[in-house]
């Protein structure tokens, strides 16, 4: 049966007892260390600084200000309580009409007005987490395959696979061409999957990319659309970071491409977008996920499934009002980009001083740092993990190692920069600079009870912790599923 007996007789499902949620990974060491010793300016200035959490904290005060100025948008204020009854009973899975309209409108604005979205195609979900799982339930059966360009968001292993039974096959991208996704790579991965008798149902990618912070160019996106149409497979684009573009070219949404290729080249029934307000607006707590599909059947099915993760009507009402306030939205989007740009420059220039370069990026809440030169062995993931432990324990930063994103080349690390204030960022940079200047000593010499034997041919390492088995499938980032993980200044942790 596959069910496991435990606790003297209680038998649970395979899903409940397997590891596909990914949370038993050793990559949680970073989180655990942070939890035990979280940085705080005054209370714990030597604690670990959290750089593994892709949150956007830069513009929350703008949102808070709007809420204060618009008491009618709340069902709890004297001005808004008249709506309480209607909102409290509203559980229609179509969502509040004004909410759908406001979201569609906001999505268009976040894409510079270059594309418009139909409110009738907006479907709610429990965050992008819920959206990604739901879209898999709609498009694929257990055992079917989705291709995903690597490096990719670690939680896709859970969101796309765990309860759906769908399989993920990575399409590897390489530093040699700046980790750009090519259609050739997708074609090759597709072909290999076919040859192994696997049923590929589609391609899913995050654009702008997590963890890279880069965007697909228009031509590549067009060619991907043409490719999926030729092969009659789906294309799901998770555009959760669409509003975090801060420099360079405009973001090209797949929605734009759909309007800009010849109609015979695109079968719109294959094109689906996932969106959320967790990153652009920094509101992960409100659980606003969106599925937008050009396929009527998928809209219908996803809508029925949204019963399992509707957006709280209280939240819908507030956001319907906020996101239809054009003046606010324009100010917000502009300011968001501006602050992200400054923060990004601040961080990358600080890294440069330490001789650390990052992949050139112009979106996202993080950078993809190249620490290959700091590895003991540039070809070894063990070296990457060794370096990672040193960064956590000695430099006291929690960053995310590239292997947790299924990167095929050791030495890349994702560091988040938008989940802290300026002072914390500068503190992090100082630590990095100090570490780098002493770096060769730490990496080459043994520290504490580490016994490291160096040799040209054989490298043996004994670690403080016993197991450093690499699993490339497990990691959780953000606070989504790690126990009690909060950003540094969150008194709610102690509530």
């Amino acid at each position: 049966m596959g069910s496991l007996k435990k606790n003297g007789g209680a038998i649970l499902s395979r899903i409940a007892t397997n590891d596909h949620h990914g949370e038993n990974s050793e990559y949680f060491d970073g989180w655990k260390s942070y939890d035990k010793d979280p940085f705080h300016h005054s209370r714990n200035p030597c604690g670990i600084i959290q750089m593994g959490l892709a949150e956007n904290q830069l513009c929350l005060e703008l949102i808070e200000g709007w809420i204060k100025d618009n008491p009618k948008a709340s069902i709890c204020t004297p001005e808004g309580v008249g709506q309480f009854g209607d909102i409290a009973i509203f559980q229609d899975y179509h969502g509040l009409k004004e909410f759908r309209q406001a979201i569609a409108h906001f999505m268009g604005k976040a894409r510079g007005g270059r594309v418009t979205f139909d409110p009738e195609r907006i479907v709610m979900s429990g965050g992008a987490t819920g959206a990604n799982e739901t879209i898999m339930f709609c498009l694929a059966d257990p055992g079917d395959v989705f291709l995903v360009p690597s490096p990719y968001y670690a939680a896709f292993d859970r969101d796309l696979r765990w309860r759906t039974g769908v399989e993920i096959i990575p399409v590897h991208c390489y530093s040699s061409n700046s980790f750009k996704l090519t259609v050739e790579a997708v074609e090759w991965a597709y072909k290999k999957a076919q040859e192994s008798n696997k049923k590929v149902k589609g391609l899913i990618l995050t654009n702008p990319s997590n963890p890279l912070g880069t965007m697909l160019d228009k031509d590549t996106l067009k060619n991907l659309v043409r490719f999926v149409t030729r092969k009659n497979i789906h294309l799901v684009v998770d555009e959760i970071y669409a509003g975090t573009v801060f420099a360079g070219e405009n973001f090209v949404s797949v929605a734009e491409v759909v309007n800009n290729v010849d109609s015979y080249e695109v079968n719109v029934d294959l094109i689906h977008i996932v969106y959320s307000l967790s990153k652009d607006m920094g509101l992960p707590g409100f659980r606003v996920g969106i599925i937008y599909s050009y396929n009527d059947l998928v809209v219908s099915c996803a809508r029925k499934m949204s019963s399992f993760g509707l957006v709280s009507s209280q939240t819908q009402l507030m956001l319907a009002s906020m996101l239809s306030d054009d003046r606010f939205v324009e100010i917000f989007l502009t300011e968001n980009s501006r602050r992200l740009k400054i923060r990004h420059e601040d961080y990358t220039s600080g890294l440069k001083k330490a001789g650390i370069t990052c992949l050139t990026s112009n979106a996202g809440l993080f950078v993809w740092m190249d620490l290959r030169h700091l590895l003991r062995d540039r070809n070894s993931f063990e070296s990457e993990i060794e370096l990672w432990h040193i960064i956590i324990d000695k430099v006291k930063l929690n960053v995310s190692p590239g292997s947790s994103f299924h990167c095929t080349e050791p030495g890349w690390f994702r560091a988040c920069f938008a989940n802290m204030d300026d002072d914390t960022l500068h503190a992090a940079l100082r630590r990095i600079q100090a570490f780098v200047s002493k770096n060769h000593k730490i990496v080459e010499n043994s520290s504490d009870s580490d016994q490291i034997v160096q040799s040209n041919n054989v490298k043996k390492q004994k670690w403080k912790q016993s197991n450093l088995r690499l699993s490339f499938r497990r990691l959780y980032e953000d606070g989504l599923s790690s126990p009690g993980i909060m950003s540094p200044r969150s008194p709610l942790l102690r509530t």
Binding site: G9, E23, E64, G85, H94, G130, R287, F308, P483
Partner: protein, 474 residues
């Protein structure tokens, strides 16, 4: 190759039927006291609208909760960022205490064993994912909430096998019926993972008796791999707290807390019915099994409760003066309202199952059927929708095995509307129209065999009671 998944193209969600008169008719012609006094009155919606005034006045007196403030300090930022699937401790503590209060403090709940989910819809599905593999089965007493066909089966691949309950004993679960259901599942080669009950029952409006709970616990004691899921979403609608017996209470009273049975009993809860807040999507799974709690917690990532809602409700439910007053008043108003419906029906010769909970009555209209068939039930139902202009739920939509029973909701309207509904029904009964054959031309013939009729009818009414626009009709 199929473009979409099997789940997307099958109709296990149960909402796809070519017939959907009642809900559509209501949507086209909804009653409004001023704007549309001859419209259809909605009595198929199990909502609790009786105590909003209490909630609104609490809000007026507690502005901090409204404005993301605690002790005068803004906590907006923390709430905006809070996505920890363990949930806000203050909310879980308040909710655990509220659940205990609902049960007269006869049992206590540990907030560490509570998992927050997006409504009971999500809680039930999550439990299935945790307890059963695709192809496994759960036994459910009939009649049951139509939404279970979606919530328990659709994406999980779990099967439902009915435990047949009949009017001869007030639709109570018997040991024999339970064993027969188990045997039937075995015949169908299904691996039974447990039993799921709703207590108090939807659609019956009755609390599960001590005897029934003993039978169920004995069943899962004997079958060591089975679970008992008790959906106690209507616990706060019992007209008196002492009449509602939670399965947790029975476990405690029978000193089963240190046995393995304790770990195989799980509760589902929600604030959609007791507090009348279905829009806020607040559900919960409660389990004494740490592994279930752990797995369910991880799964809750797919449907967390909005942090602003958690915060608001943690303030509300921590106000013990308020909760005491609310629970008492809620019970009183529901009891009064139910009595009005029951006595109104009695006055026209229509009986209902004696009920002591819920937002609805299980009404006996068997004597109004032209024949003891589901066909006749459909005929009667159509008349009630089209002619009497009331949308009520036919028993077949709840998988009832006997034609002629209807679920009629009473808490989702004003007293005047209820009076009007009774007036309309009385006129219909008095005119004796119910014994004449149906005059309405149908666009589709109903199949002749009982089984097929039941399925068609179930799909149809399911569409009706669970139509596109309504996510959570219960």
């Amino acid at each position: 190759m199929e473009l979409l998944s099997r789940k997307a193209t099958c109709n296990s969600h149960g909402q796809d039927s070519s017939y959907f008169l009642g809900w559509e008719e209501y949507e086209k012609n909804p009653y409004d006291v001023i704007k549309n006094p001859h419209g259809i009155i909605q009595m198929g919606l199990a909502e609790n609208q009786l105590c909003f005034d209490l909630l609104e006045s609490w809000l007026a007196q507690n502005p901090d909760a409204a404005c993301f403030k605690r002790d005068g300090q803004s906590i907006f930022r923390e709430l905006a960022l809070f996505q920890d699937y363990h949930g806000l401790s203050s909310f879980k503590n308040a909710l655990s205490d509220f659940m205990s209060e609902n049960r007269g403090y006869r049992v206590s709940f540990d907030s560490n064993n509570l998992v927050l989910t997006a409504g009971a819809t999500s809680a039930n599905e999550t439990l299935m994912f945790c307890l059963a593999d695709p192809g496994d089965a759960f036994l459910l007493p009939t009649p049951y909430y139509p939404g279970f066909d979606r919530d328990l089966k659709w994406r999980t691949g779990v099967e439902i096998v009915p435990i047949h309950c009949s009017s001869t004993n007030g639709f109570r679960i018997t040991k024999l019926a339970l064993e027969e259901a188990h045997a039937q599942a075995k015949k169908l080669n299904l691996n039974v993972k447990g039993v799921l009950i709703t207590n108090p029952s939807n659609p019956l409006g009755t609390t599960t008796t001590q005897t029934e709970l003993d039978i169920l616990l004995e069943f899962i004691s004997t079958n060591k791999n089975m679970h008992l899921v008790s959906d106690e979403i209507y616990s706060g609608t019992a007209f008196s707290s002492s009449e509602f017996i939670s399965v947790m209470e029975v476990l405690k009273n029978n000193q089963l807390e240190d046995t393995d049975v304790f770990n195989r009993v799980h509760i589902v809860y929600s604030l959609s019915k007791d507090l009348g807040l279905p829009g806020f999507r607040v559900g919960a799974v409660y389990s004494n099994d740490k592994d279930v709690v752990s797995a369910a917690t991880k799964m809750s990532s797919f449907g967390l409760v909005s942090s602003q809602t958690q915060y608001l409700l943690s303030s509300l439910l921590s106000d013990k003066k308020f909760t005491k007053k609310y629970l008492r008043e809620n019970q009183k108003r529901l009891k009064n309202r139910q009595r009005k419906l029951v006595s109104g029906l009695e006055a026209m010769g229509i009986g209902s199952l004696k009920s002591n909970a819920g937002l609805f009555c299980w009404v006996d209209m068997r004597h109004l059927l032209s024949s003891k068939t589901f066909e006749a039930e459909m005929d009667l139902w159509k008349k009630i929708v089209y002619e009497v202009k009331l949308n009520i739920s036919p028993g077949s939509s709840c998988h009832c095995e006997e034609p002629g029973w209807f679920r009629v909701c009473f808490a989702n309207m004003s007293e005047e509307t209820l009076k009007l509904a009774l007036k309309r029904l009385k006129k219909f009964v008095d005119d004796g129209n119910s014994v004449k054959s149906c005059q309405i031309t149908e666009s589709q013939k109903l199949k002749s065999s009982r089984k097929k009729t039941m399925t068609t009818v179930s799909n149809w009414v399911f569409r009706l009671s669970f139509q596109d626009r309504e996510a959570e009709e219960r």
